[in-house]
Symmetry: C2
Subunit: 335 residues, 2 copies
């Protein structure tokens, strides 16, 4: 950012920077808006190009785009940007408010490293391998390897859980304050096997059983063990059946989905679904039973407040408390 | 990404997408590389523009850039991208490998939300306020407010510590396994006051004392308390003086700097500095004393290995162990 540029200043910036791109043997196309400054496009024979956008209020943007060969490309890019920075500092005698370079964005590669947060922020993960990528009848299932987080389960584009995320599993189980010995526990969702799971999507279980063993251990190898059973079906009819049979649990752990992001609980079917699950869960929960579930990104305050309001609208009165944890792979705090 | 496009296919993509941009009243400039596909620039009267890059191997990129008024702009952008996606799916009968939209990048605003990780990945923080922004004789000092992490201290562009990062302070103090009662503790660096500090930059202390109170409490209000003293000076002469005087400590906590990223320890002065600090610290440490320090982003494996090698080259033999923690605001795991 510079101070306000008048038309003559815009032109001075253009004149100062032109030689840098021309030296590269780039072909120039200048568009002059008069009242909105300049857009200059520089095209190279090898298919790469640069945009130079000069705004009259003082913002100068340089975007470089090239295909492949990016390590070599990066050095060239750095040299070019160094020259731009130098020339600008000369022109304005060092009087520049901010100079910022952003890391290159890699698009169209085999590995996609960009998985935005729940509140829509751009985050680049250190993904180095696509471990699993399949479409089930319900969703796209990806397991990607991150150098620091281990394998990460991504369902239809949403980061679900990584092998690093024991903190998530611990929190949704009551942060070590519960004694589950001899207790009846019903877990909804959680196809990653982090807790133990009843899930509708066999393919998630198949993928996780093979590639997320740090999370699920061997619990998914057999759907029935001495003290657990994994049901791969819609949990609503199961809950209804249990309620009808009068089967009661000490704990219900709902790991199905995060609090919906939408803030129209009356219209949105995810909210409807959530209330139904909550009501049914309360029906199969013993008098002093506990219900654990996840919230969502701490920044989605409206959605989280709405969720708390839903709790006061259940058919039976409930008490609740909340806790916020840092789930490493989510790149955000999570209540 | 599409399957391989021949020249005619590139042209078909161009012909299919052209009307979408032309409907917007945008002025078109087409560059045809023949062997590298097309770059088409669309310019709008209001100063915004779009780049359409069609690669012959099947990657089609659409970049949209506009100034200000970004909420209104976003809706328009979504509509335009929906049309592009539709048209492409029609053209290739749904046979498209991947469709991806990235969140908009905001540049040149009062608030800069992009602070890359130590291993160079692009990360957008939820910054909503610039709390403090000053240049000291040593560095640029920024304290930015994040909705989820609280105030974040950023020194010369590097995320240093946020109010959410008690985990960092706990880890560098030995994760609660040490009893500091009645012990002599020397803390190097840490101008944020998270531990307690001897720092060279008065302005960091002034900024933190006012804006990072969740981290430092009141320890920075007075540089000398009943059981602590804050020295604002270069720690090397202080360490040398203590070594000469024979003053010994139970603990030395080095919070000066992360392990250098460069992997040429013989040439890089940061490594030199690190070895000097290590050697001097060992000299003021009691026989059974402990030295705590931070590593760096877990992905910088080469640098971390080099650091361990340095430890074996000290003038006295040392034993060491390491621990990895999740520091919320760093967006990466940190040993």
């Amino acid at each position: 950012i510079l101070r306000d540029l008048f038309h003559t200043d815009c032109n001075a910036v253009l004149k100062a920077l032109q030689p840098i791109f021309q030296e590269q043997g780039m072909t120039e196309t200048v568009h002059n808006w008069e009242d909105h400054g300049y857009l200059v496009t520089y095209i190279k024979k090898n298919g790469s190009f640069a945009n130079l956008r000069i705004h009259p209020h003082g913002l100068v943007l340089v975007d470089l785009q090239s295909y492949n060969d990016h390590m070599k490309g990066r050095e060239e890019v750095d040299q070019l940007l160094n020259k731009v920075e130098e020339r600008m500092k000369e022109l304005f005698h060092g009087n520049i408010k901010r100079v910022k370079r952003l890391p290159a964005i890699l698009r169209g590669g085999v590995i996609d490293r960009y998985w935005p947060t729940a509140d829509g922020r751009l985050v680049e993960y250190d993904i180095d391998e696509v471990v699993y990528d399949e479409d089930s009848p319900f969703q796209n299932i990806k397991i990607l390897h991150s150098k620091q987080f281990g394998n990460i389960l991504i369902l239809s584009g949403d980061v679900n859980l990584a092998e690093s995320d024991l903190a998530y599993t611990q929190a949704i189980m009551g942060s070590g304050k519960e004694d589950y010995t001899g207790k009846e526990v019903l877990i909804l969702g959680g196809g990653d096997g982090g807790i133990l799971s009843s899930n509708i999507d066999q393919m998630v279980i198949d993928g996780c059983k093979k590639h997320m063993r740090k999370t699920c251990g061997d619990v998914l190898d057999n759907l029935k063990g001495e003290c657990y059973q994994v049901l791969i079906e819609d949990c609503i009819p199961v809950l209804k059946r249990y309620a009808k049979e009068g089967r009661m649990f000490d704990y219900v752990i709902n790991d199905l989905t995060a609090v919906p992001i939408s803030t129209s609980p009356e219209e949105d079917s995810t909210w409807e679904f959530l209330r139904l699950i909550l009501d049914l869960s309360m029906k199969v929960l013993k008098q002093d039973g506990k219900y654990f579930t996840q919230g969502n990104c701490i920044n989605l305050t409206d959605a989280l407040t709405l969720y708390e309001e839903q709790l006061s609208r259940l058919y039976c009165p409930v008490e609740f408390s909340k806790e916020t944890v840092c789930v490493p792979s989510y790149m955000e705090l999570y209540p």
